[in-house]
C-alpha cells in the first residue's frame, strides 16, 4: 500500500522544469528534459579521454538528479526495473566529467572517467565491441559483424555470479 501511494504521488510530481515553449527548450538556459512515455530519457556515455562510446542507457528523473548531485552515473535498469548505480556490483563506477543535453532536451550525453575499467556487462571496455561492415548487402540476415575489442577486461561469470543476464531477446 505504501508503494502504491508513493507511485501515485510520483506520477503527478514533475521534478524538472516544465517545457513551455520550443524556443525556451532549444535556445534557453534552463534544464527541462523530456522523459518518454515510460518516464525515461536515453543517455549516451562516452570515455572522456578517448571519446569512445561506452554504452547507451536510460535515466528516469531520479537517476538524472542523482547523477547531477553525486557526479557518479546512475541509470534506470529496464531489465531489473530498479535505479541502478553503475559499478556498484562490478566496482567499475563511472565518474561524471561532463553532462550535456541536446537541442530538444530529449537525450543526454555523459562523458565519464572509468580509468582502466570496463562498462559492458559482457566484460569488454565498451558495449560497442563489434563493427558492422559497410557496403552492398546480399542477404540482410547474414551480415557478419567483426570484433573490434580483442580481450575482455573482466570475467563476467566471476563478477556477476548468480545474477541473471540483463540482455533480453
Amino acid at each position: 500500500m505504501q508503494i502504491a501511494i508513493l507511485s501515485f504521488f510520483h506520477y503527478f510530481t514533475k521534478m524538472f522544469k516544465n517545457r513551455e515553449s520550443i524556443l525556451e527548450v532549444e535556445e534557453g538556459n534552463l534544464l527541462s528534459p523530456k522523459f518518454n512515455d515510460e518516464g525515461l530519457i536515453p543517455v549516451i556515455t562516452t570515455d572522456f579521454k578517448s571519446g569512445e562510446v561506452l554504452m547507451h542507457g536510460y535515466m528516469n528523473e531520479e537517476a538524472l538528479k542523482k547523477t547531477i548531485e553525486t557526479k557518479e552515473a546512475y541509470y534506470w535498469s529496464r531489465s531489473r526495473k530498479i535505479l541502478w548505480h553503475k559499478g556498484k556490483t562490478s566496482g567499475f563506477v563511472q565518474k561524471v566529467i561532463e553532462l550535456r543535453v541536446d537541442d530538444d532536451q530529449d537525450a543526454i550525453w555523459m562523458s565519464v572517467d572509468i580509468g582502466d575499467g570496463a562498462s559492458c556487462h559482457v566484460g569488454y571496455r565498451s558495449c560497442f565491441y563489434r563493427s558492422i561492415p559497410l557496403g552492398a548487402v546480399k542477404d540482410t540476415t547474414q551480415i557478419k559483424i567483426k570484433f573490434k575489442e580483442k580481450e575482455k577486461k573482466f570475467d563476467p561469470k566471476k563478477i556477476y555470479k548468480g545474477q541473471p543476464n540483463p540482455t533480453k531477446l
Copy 2:
C-alpha cells in the same frame, strides 16, 4: 490501398536475422538488431575525428539497411514520420566511417564525417551544445545550462525556410 498492403506486408517481414539465443546476440558474429515496439533502434552519432557526440537519433530497418549500403546516414524521423536522408535539405550529409552495434544489439554507434558542417537543426555543429552543471541542486526546476558552442554553423531560418520545427514539447 497499396500503402495499406505494403504496410501490412512490412509488418510481418523481418529484414535482419532472428534473435535466437542470448549467447549468439552477445558473443556471436551475425547482426541481429532489436527494434523496439515502434520498430526503431536508437543511434548515437559521433564525429570520427573529434569524437564529439553530434546527435541521438533513431533508425527503422530500412534506414539501417540504407545506411549500411550507401555509407550515408539515414534515420527514421519520428516528428515527420518519414525515412530521413540526413543532410538532404541542409546539404550536411553524414558520411559513415564506422558502424557498431552494442552487446545486446539494441543500439547503434555511428562514426561519421561531416567535414566543417553541422548536424543540429538549430544551427550548431553538435545537438549537444549545452552543458548541465554538476553538484548539489537547490531547486531542480531552476538548473541553469551553459552554452558550450559559441556560434551557429548556419542560419536555420535560411536553410529550412517554411518547414515546421521538428522539436516537440
